[in-house]
């Protein structure tokens, strides 16, 4: 049984994640895929403390008995449609346009991913940039999933994306941060928020990612695929907050030799 998280970090602590015209208290965005059932998904989302949850757009499965929507409190969460499974700009644009005909999404936030290769699920930069341009022009608040490439991040900022979402490692791999230096360079290159999307495997990955100074994390498999998704959701909730607070608090520099914590004056023997 999971413990209900306490959302108070410190008194008077106001630290919001801003994405375009929207702002959120939670810096953790979670996916809805890969859960053993919708009840587990529902509880895990709650324990994660996330306010934004991602969903895919798919053909209706007439065999499906349960309706996913009935497990999601639409007043409480911001639903973020993704373009998962799209390999061209055209398909991604059509998916987003089609999602607008669902009376489900209350914001114009969209997660744009244009995949270039099914094995790595790495994005196709050329198609991604093309799709981002069109969707930004159509008024969407585009949140692009990218490789950890500062150049692409800058181009997307210039196009008008209010956030970039570089991977830490391949989607669902759980490998953690493969290149923390690139994430830092991206953070220094753009002036928009950076949300690390994909690759986090466990709570320490999440905390370390936040300690780099990025603005948030989007994850799915690390929670849904855990042996106990509910407690892992809670662990991620704490880890993202802990990592953020540690970053803001300024860690001590690393030194080769010891530095005593107890004062030297007054030693008896």
């Amino acid at each position: 049984m999971a413990i209900i998280p306490n959302n108070h970090l410190t008194t008077n602590f106001e630290d919001k994640l801003k994405i375009g015209k929207y702002s959120f208290k939670s810096r953790l965005i979670v996916g809805t895929g890969k859960y053993p059932d919708f009840i587990t998904m529902q509880k895990a989302i709650e324990l994660s403390g996330a306010e934004i949850i991602t969903v895919a757009i798919r053909r209706i499965d007439f065999e499906q008995k349960e309706n996913m929507l009935s497990f999601i409190d639409q007043d409480k969460y911001t639903l973020l449609p993704n373009t998962a499974g799209c390999f061209t700009a055209e398909d991604a644009i059509s998916t987003i346009r089609l999602s607008r005909e669902l009376a489900i999404f209350k914001t114009d936030l969209v997660k744009l991913e244009v995949i270039g290769d099914p094995k790595t699920l790495y994005p196709d930069n050329e198609e991604l940039l093309k799709a981002a341009k069109v969707l930004v022009n159509e008024g969407f608040t585009v949140m692009p999933y990218i490789i950890d490439d500062p150049i692409v991040a800058k181009k997307l900022e210039d196009i008008g994306c209010p956030v970039v979402m570089p991977l830490a490692s391949p989607i669902g791999s759980g490998l953690g941060i493969r290149n923390p230096y690139n994430l830092k360079i991206i953070k220094e290159t753009v002036s928009i928020p950076v949300i690390v999307d994909a690759g986090v495997g466990t709570a320490s990955d999440a905390a370390k990612t936040m300690e780099l100074g990025v603005d948030g994390i989007l994850m799915n498999t690390a929670i849904a695929g855990a042996t106990d998704p509910l407690n892992m959701a809670l662990a991620m909730n704490y880890a993202v907050k802990a990592g953020r607070l540690a970053f803001l608090s300024g860690r001590i520099p690393m030194k080769l030799y010891a530095s005593a914590s107890s004062q030297m004056e007054g030693i008896v023997f």
């Binding site: 859960y35 991602t54 053909r59 499965d61 929507l69 639903l79 005909e101 669902l102 489900i104 799915n220």
Partner: protein
């Protein structure tokens, strides 16, 4: 008249609009989006868009995803 809904063949005895078809499938029109022959149909048109023989209708909604 034969139409395809999400690639599944459906025989219709009468002409139906997209809205009527969604209703006959017991789906919630609010959480359903439609494309006919890969062209997205605006929700405002569902009640007047009459499906024709051999039309390929895609009905979509949200699904689990990351």
């Amino acid at each position: 008249m034969l139409i395809y809904v999400n690639d599944k063949e459906i025989n219709l005895n009468e002409n139906l609009t997209i809205a009527q078809l969604i209703d006959s499938l017991n789906l919630n029109i609010k959480s359903t989006a439609a494309a006919v022959n890969k062209e997205i149909v605006p929700k405002a048109k569902y009640a007047e868009f009459i499906l024709k023989d051999k039309d390929r209708l895609d009905l979509v909604t949200i699904a689990p995803g990351g």
